[in-house]
């Protein structure tokens, strides 16, 4: 066992609760993410804009929302759309969303392969047509389906999560690949409306939640007005899609929270991911609880008895502009690492005063 892991184990942790600053890589996110009450609307049936600073928890909330909807097994279908490039083509985002739908539909079928066999020939053909839009092409993905052993292999290749918990791919998957290969496509390409209708017809989906993230990087190189102009085509369809139970959920930088283009959207509910000391303390407590497998829920448990409210103390040490989960996690990580490095058995009062210096964090 590595010295760091041994040190963590000696303190009662099964894993390092402060290891990941990037929520996309964090396997325990669902178990310990703290969602401030104001942004719980991100999980509701309506279009939503969530604003936050870099490091404020937007991507974590987006992943959490996707996992939350995933649990409904397709009844409430999450589609994650992260623009990977920039284009001022008016249809750019809609094409991106259509590709994201193709990825989601493919993962849905591999999650429930037998579902495909019971579909009508017309729906099967429509599915085949949609899947032609998959990244690297359908042929490539079908080969991956045949050669993969686990759903997770496909998840990684497509960047879309599976909907079931099948431990291994089986004969039904190979049959699905063969049938999709044989299936003929429709004579014309699908519109986005066709795609939405397909999700309802084929999978019984009742609502679609399109989670739009990854726009922080854009604003670092362009003015905020340019970002608004870029997403304007999506804002224009908000109301129409809302009526069809298709909900756009934007995860946006705080800088544009008061932009008129957003505030005039009557149907769009907006919320800011803001953090106070108590919420930030809760971020650490939840991680401690999960990493200790429920044995304790505060760093107080591994502190000297005259050290109380470790989490709140750490949160209060953050400057006004640093009151963000990422900063809090960094600070807690540093505290634990210091304890482990110095072979201490518990957190002492002086350990808390020695990490007051803030550190600089950039967006991930």
């Amino acid at each position: 066992m590595e010295p760091a892991a041994r040190g963590l184990a000696a303190l009662g942790f099964a894993f390092d609760p402060f290891e990941h600053l990037d929520s996309t890589k964090d396997a325990h996110l669902q178990e310990y993410l703290v969602i401030p009450p104001a942004v719980q609307i991100a999980l509701s049936d309506q279009p939503v804009a969530v604003f936050a600073q870099p490091g404020g928890g937007k991507s974590a909330l987006r992943i959490y929302a996707a996992n939350f909807y995933r649990d409904s097994r397709g009844l409430k279908l999450p589609i994650t759309y992260i623009p990977e490039a920039y284009s001022d083509e008016p249809l750019f985002h809609f094409q991106g969303i259509q590709r994201a739908i193709a990825c989601t539909a493919f993962m849905y079928l591999t999650s429930y392969p037998d579902l495909f066999f019971a579909l009508t020939p017309q729906i099967k053909r429509t599915i085949k047509t949609l899947l032609l839009d998959l990244p690297y092409g359908l042929d490539f993905q079908l080969r991956a389906l045949i050669e993969s052993r686990f759903l997770s292999d496909l998840e990684q290749a497509l960047g879309a999560p599976a909907f079931s918990n099948l431990p291994e791919l089986g004969g039904a998957h190979r049959q699905l690949a063969r049938e999709l290969e044989k299936e003929s496509e429709l004579p014309k390409s699908l519109t986005l409306d066709d795609c939405f209708a397909l999700l309802t017809d084929a999978f019984g989906t009742k609502s679609i939640h399109i989670l739009i993230d990854g726009l922080d990087g854009f604003i670092e190189t362009h003015a905020s007005q340019a970002l608004l102009a870029w997403i304007e085509p999506l804002l224009n369809v908000l109301e129409d899609w809302n009526r069809k139970n298709i909900y756009l959920k934007f995860f946006l930088p705080m800088d544009i929270s008061d932009a008129p283009a957003l505030t005039v959207q009557g149907v769009l509910r907006a919320a800011a991911l803001t953090w106070d000391d108590n919420l930030l303390a809760e971020v650490v407590r939840r991680r401690v609880f999960v990493a200790s497998r429920g044995a304790f829920d505060s760093l107080d448990a591994v502190s000297a008895p005259d050290v109380r409210n470790v989490e709140l103390t750490l949160a209060r040490q953050l400057g006004e502009k640093e009151k963000l989960p990422r900063q809090m996690i960094l600070k807690s990580r540093e505290l634990l690492q210091n304890i482990i490095k110095s072979n201490k058995k518990e957190i002492l009062p002086e350990d808390l005063s020695s990490i007051r210096e803030p550190s600089y964090v950039t967006a991930i």
């Binding site: 099948l166 089986g170 039904a172 999960v290 429920g294 044995a295 304790f296 448990a301 000297a304 008895p305």
Partner: protein, 403 residues
């Protein structure tokens, strides 16, 4: 075979009116929700859920389904389909497909047939999410905190999560000890209610019912004392009432053994090992503050160079058994162990010995951590605690022969 006290008879059920009213109000006022009843070992959680299931069964618009994760016996539900109850063994992972199959029948779920059992499990789960029937499913699951983590994770993944996708659904769970780590937000934010011990009058009512059923060996003159010694925990009341022991302190001892022993892992139940563990639990029962491991290691294992490791090990065993949990500022032993044990220790004359040892440890801690002086002063229970009980002592405290 099930333990004789893990048995439900609705005719012997007592009280819990306010909890039933709370459940009724939630079912009427809300369209969905998760309620968790927490309670100490022996506080009557299983019996409460079974009685609740029986009552919900009488309502036509509600479709209750009960899963008992630990062995329990309820003869009156033997012919019911929408229940999973095993008197011989605890629920296991491989039982999930069968439970899902019964749930599917009970909740009128459409699902896709598959020969692969793993596939079938997932199709059932999908069917749960897409349920069309108008009746309101109420899933009751007993001992959800105490079951092995891998079983609970599977239950959440295959049963709770898809069921929670429905517009109208209620989960009513019960558990003891440390809270599990949930993934679903609704489970993380569940409404938690505590099942407190019975009041004095209800303990007497329970004793009258047990007498009527021909199970109690106690006479009416002992009822007040049983109510006092049992601290109102229905399981202790039941064991004391049914015990062959003539002396009430010995009947209480028997009940405490049941409360503790049953929850411990198999490896800890061997007689010699158990007596050592019980001796340590007796000592912990006197610690009056939520404690940290360094606070009690010198008290539990004086002069032992490996006391930190041994205290860690004990804490882990007690956490796994659900007899201990982290509460606020430290670990706390289950009150259904603490209070009866204090009374029993007093009856055996052992209470004072432990108090002397604990006082010494408390003073040492006050010196080591002067800024936490007041906190460690509270480590010692109030002097008046249980010593006013007059009980007849027939043998030495278990701690003495366990040492």
């Amino acid at each position: 075979m099930s333990q004789p006290y893990n048995v439900f008879h609705s005719a012997e059920f007592t009280d819990r009116d306010s909890e039933f009213e709370r459940v009724s109000a939630i079912l009427k006022e809300k369209s969905r929700g998760v309620l968790i009843f927490e309670g100490a070992r022996g506080s009557g959680k299983s019996a409460f859920l079974l009685e609740l299931y029986r009552r919900l069964h009488e309502q036509s618009e509600i479709r209750p389904f009960l899963i008992s994760l630990l062995p329990y016996f309820a003869d009156e539900f033997k012919k019911k389909e929408n229940i999973w109850l095993n008197s011989e063994r605890a629920f296991q992972q491989q039982d999930i497909p069968e439970v899902l199959s019964r749930l599917a029948r009970s909740l009128e779920i459409d699902f896709i047939e598959s020969e692969d059992l793993n596939f079938q499990k997932d199709y059932f789960a999908r069917g749960l999410a897409y349920r069309k029937s108008k009746t309101v499913p109420v899933l009751l699951v007993d001992s959800v905190y105490e079951c092995p983590e891998e079983v609970r994770i599977e239950i959440e993944k295959y049963i709770f999560a898809p069921l929670l996708a429905s517009e109208r659904v209620f989960l009513i769970l019960s558990g003891r000890g440390k809270r599990p780590i949930w993934s679903s937000p609704e489970l993380q934010m569940a409404e938690i209610l505590t099942l407190d011990p019975l009041e004095h009058a209800y303990v007497k009512e329970q004793l009258v019912k047990l007498k009527k059923a021909g199970k109690s060996k106690r006479n009416e003159t002992e009822y007040d004392e049983i109510a006092d010694l049992s601290c109102g925990y229905p399981l202790i009341v039941r064991v004391m009432a049914e015990s062959e022991q003539k002396v009430l302190a010995d009947a209480l001892d028997e009940a405490i053994d049941i409360i503790i022993k049953d929850t411990l892992p198999e490896t800890e139940r061997e007689e010699k090992k158990y007596l050592q563990t019980r001796a340590l639990i007796e000592k912990l029962a006197l610690v009056n503050i939520p404690f940290r491991i360094p606070d009690v290691e010198a008290y539990l294992f004086p002069d032992d160079p490996e006391r930190r490791a041994k205290t860690n090990e004990l804490v882990n065993v007690l956490l796994a058994s659900g007899l201990l949990r982290y509460e606020g500022k430290g670990y706390q032993l289950n009150p259904s162990v603490v209070h009866p044990l204090r009374k029993w220790l007093a009856s055996k004359g052992q209470y004072g010995n432990y108090l002397i040892q604990l006082t010494k440890v408390s003073q040492d801690l006050q010196e080591t951590y002067p800024s936490a002086k007041t906190w460690y002063q509270r480590m010692i229970p109030a002097q008046s605690s249980p010593s006013d009980h007059t009980l007849y002592s027939s043998n030495l405290g278990k701690t003495q022969y366990a040492a």
